[in-house]
Symmetry: C2
Subunit: 697 residues, 2 copies
Amino acid sequence: MSSSDQTAANTQTDPLPNTPLVVFTPSGKRGRFAVGTPILTAARQLGVDLDSVCGGRGICSKCQIAPSYGEFSKFGVVSEATALSDWNSVEQRYKDKRGLLDGRRLGCQATVQGDIVIDVPPESQVHKQVVRKAATARTIIMDPATRLYFVEVEQPDMHEPTGDLERLARALRAQWQIDDIKADLSVLTKLQPVLRKGNWQVTVALYRDHTGAPARLLDIWPGLYEGGLYGLAIDLGSTTIAAHLCDLVTGEVLGSSGVMNPQIRFGEDLMSRVSYAMMNPGGDKDMTRVVREAINGLTATLSAEAGIAPDSIFEAVIVCNPVMHHLLLGIDPVELGQAPFALATSASLSLRATDLGLDTFSPRAQVYLLPCIAGHVGADAAAVALSEEPGKSEDLVLVVDVGTNAEILLGNKTRVLACSSPTGPAFEGAQISAGQRAAPGAIERVEIDPVTKEPRFRIIGTDLWSDEVGFDAAATASGITGICGSGIIEAVAEMRMAGILDGSGLIGSAEQTGTVRCIMEGRTHTYVIHDSTAEGGPLISVTQGDIRAIQLAKSALYAGARLLMDEMGVDKVDRVVLAGAFGAHISPKHAMVLGMIPDVPLDKVFSAGNAAGTGARIALCNTASRAEIEMVVGQITKVETAIEPKFQEHFVAANAIPHKTDPFPELAKIVTLPDNSFNTRGEGGSDDGGRRRRRRA
Amino acid sequence: MSSSDQTAANTQTDPLPNTPLVVFTPSGKRGRFAVGTPILTAARQLGVDLDSVCGGRGICSKCQIAPSYGEFSKFGVVSEATALSDWNSVEQRYKDKRGLLDGRRLGCQATVQGDIVIDVPPESQVHKQVVRKAATARTIIMDPATRLYFVEVEQPDMHEPTGDLERLARALRAQWQIDDIKADLSVLTKLQPVLRKGNWQVTVALYRDHTGAPARLLDIWPGLYEGGLYGLAIDLGSTTIAAHLCDLVTGEVLGSSGVMNPQIRFGEDLMSRVSYAMMNPGGDKDMTRVVREAINGLTATLSAEAGIAPDSIFEAVIVCNPVMHHLLLGIDPVELGQAPFALATSASLSLRATDLGLDTFSPRAQVYLLPCIAGHVGADAAAVALSEEPGKSEDLVLVVDVGTNAEILLGNKTRVLACSSPTGPAFEGAQISAGQRAAPGAIERVEIDPVTKEPRFRIIGTDLWSDEVGFDAAATASGITGICGSGIIEAVAEMRMAGILDGSGLIGSAEQTGTVRCIMEGRTHTYVIHDSTAEGGPLISVTQGDIRAIQLAKSALYAGARLLMDEMGVDKVDRVVLAGAFGAHISPKHAMVLGMIPDVPLDKVFSAGNAAGTGARIALCNTASRAEIEMVVGQITKVETAIEPKFQEHFVAANAIPHKTDPFPELAKIVTLPDNSFNTRGEGGSDDGGRRRRRRA
């Protein structure tokens, strides 16, 4: 390139070569601007992500910037005096009134005077990144559907008789490039007094989603609104309803809470609830009512704990399985109880909260429900897909969201499959003799000494093991009350590894296992973990029935995963992600011993925490993600477990607890137990079949 | 053109030259179709307006056609045997079940066999023309926003797990080319049972308006829905609420009814109601409640009278003045009571009926409010503009909608002006000593003999004049109870023509007028029209106060018209249209004697009946008209009477009753009364000013 070419190129990229150069960090965007250009204006022209609610009027302080002074190789020495306009009275007033960190300026007040580097601190970015806790997970870019806009509205003029709403719309178009708004009657009724009280300066909350529909006017306040703008991400499970209260401006989670789903009294699992609706006319209406009440109650609790007004909650995103989805919407779920499991609607839904009877929110709050994938694979699975993104994975990942129903996703960049498997509530501590939900006092970790067969355990509420000094004192507050989902899984796996359990799932006798903790109960045996009956406390043990419940649950889970692997044509996966509130607590080792999940190196098993809840949070904080998941859901191949004969085959085959690499071969020698040694049949105690095989061994 | 050219041209217009030619009447559309093409298909391809709800399945009978047989110059002899397929079993079944006129065939069953002329009878046209009564008015083309669609929906398939709603949407796209639908929760809850009950054939009612928004699913029925689809056109006036119940398929008006606006108890005119809202906290809410209740009641009455279910009313169009508009919506009208008379919103509104508390309709009924023109010129004026179309007039037309407020439009093809004038309720019989609303027993016509000064009159309920044989008998049922709006106008004009009233509006004494019917009441005179006090009945007379009320009303009306004429730069108009329920009954001659309207030849004064109500009906039956009026309203120049100094000047100048061409010069001679002879001042009786001028005369 000749030197004249070089000059020409320079001219082209620097249309104002003699004006100051402004460089923004961290974006690195740069440009030349006339002396006197406000930094906010420069940022907007360059597409730099610098926030402003008041539109540059020096009142909202969202556009704070941190100019850099000193010596730059490019600029030479930059001093405050030469690079930016002087500190002005608007900035001083703001600093006096609310404080401003040293070194900060207001981007709408400071104007360009010379070459300068401007740092945009994270809190001044519109599209802040919210860091999620899970290490593997992507960050959330803040781009919520509901945002605040400060706007100056023209006063009415008799000679140009437009309505106040039309002038507000015009101002939003001119000042915020918002094409079209629509207002509910309930906002229209307050529009005129608010405009006048604010002296024609108002803040509006607009809901603009990914569909391109006109922006909905959610609320209006006189002047600059300095209250909050909140949203709820709700994971509506069959057993638990969990919600995160999020600040829609910062993305911060102000609080998380959960309540039991009150529908449990109508049926513990989904199919029981569908049956309840079929058998009891109006039963679905009762279930709809109680779940809506529970969400209202949860909202009230979360708001009170966070110290915010519930009516400053303007949005909720709800994820749930199809039966909960229909019951929440007030749709009789009867069709979901029988083939072909037809959903009333599978698409995502945008609704008014009041239409759902959710009346603790702002009266104009919006609710978004993620799309359902199929009749048995719901919006919760879609939320897991949004959070864990199997379709963006290079390696083949199996995502298992463990709850009363397990949502299972298998895939990579080329293809994603999904199914749902009816694990039942055993993994959540229900239908377990000493089971309880995860709460202080519940045994959550168990280890059994392979030689002595003695257990030790940990309860929720203390980090000490039961055989450590200080445990008794630490446990005094809650007591030792039962065993929760992760505890029962560990207990069963440890029992297997300690040789207390054979491969068919039968608990051995005291004689067979060599521990008096195996006691006779009816025709089967029970392993005692903790006995405080002498002090009037509970007997916490694992019964043969408990083992069977866990076997059914884990077989269902495993069979679902296998079915997807068959469909994909693979016999192993590269990576396993355990999701679900409960998935976060499962020990990967124990899950694998139990045969819950296909074998994979232990360091390839990850926990994603409550991935469905996280998916809801992503959809709440980032509208583009809604369009994304709506598209992704359409590309997922759905596999229906209920009609697939292979599912039954896998289910039956997975009933055993194979424990392929027995860490304790000496045990096998002592009691000469093959994989299915004590018994080969279901619930029953000793019988001929069992004995025959034992003899054969 | 050479003969080969001719052939080429023929080939071009006749792509299938060897196939039969089908000509449709009355459209004249024609085309060639393969043998075996159903007539309905041919009609659709040619864009012939042939209805079908069931989409050609032989069950709705909307596509009835009348084939012509016989000798045609073009076709030669066409016989039933050669031109159309044979009468088939579907047609026979339909005829047996519901009857089919002789000569009719079903367009979806009869197929083309040879050249044929097909007449589409009016009832088979989708876009039927509804003939309006007013001679000058345009017809209404039926093209309502709410229509029925019969549709066959694919059954659910486990392997392709879309929701029922999504499959319904897909069917509507394939079978009716409807892009996008959305469904309220209340329809979603019934979708699944209805689809199954109808064996996957259903009829849906869709609301598709002129905005391009997705079609809204209003209702769904199993199979072919044969119930009705109705709408209401409501003219919500300050004094009266009038409604037409319309069949949305045929356009037929099934019934019309009116009730008094119950807000009258809060204030007789609009400004009194605004004051009531300002003085009484929550007063606007009370007024909102009662007007909504009144509309609900009126709906119930109309439905009962027509024998239809109120929940088959799916739409309402409401027109009203700005104060009623705000009160209906639940918006405090306080801003409309003071300059600059800012509307909360001036644009048209599409709302859910339930949001307006209109709960007698279908729970998903839509309400459309026409746009307001300005703070004092409402959706009722817009409706008059839609009905009377001043903007399409070749000559300069003055449209006056006479009510408690008069809406006045002046214009032609080049420009339209509008204003509103506060005439008060005198023209409706209110604030008149013997005034009453137009009801049986009310005097509606008055004549006064210019020589004897004796009156004769007619009452509502009989066509006989009071001096005709049989009147007394005919009047027995109702009695003679008072005088309504049109009666008082005629009475005042007749009094002026008979010389009982001078040009300033003063009633003369018995001596001055030569009739004992002029009696002294306090310091002024009263003219007795009918005295039945001897029989315990009322004394119906015109007092000086009545004259003043009429003078104020007619001055306001005239001043408004003059103001528009000034703005237009004209001093005469070509044509006057009197609209409003009351406008229909005003005698043009008397209106002109009184000086209510500018002078124009009597044969250039027309009555448009309730033009606002008709505008509402047009908007109800034809969606395109909504887009039209929204555009037209934006082009109308609004003139604000309240701030225009010239309005006051015109108002004062119009106070007199000039009676320029006195038909009774002998009277003037007898009493030597110039135009303002008895008095020159307001309410007061004789005073010096009056006497001075009388002496001067």
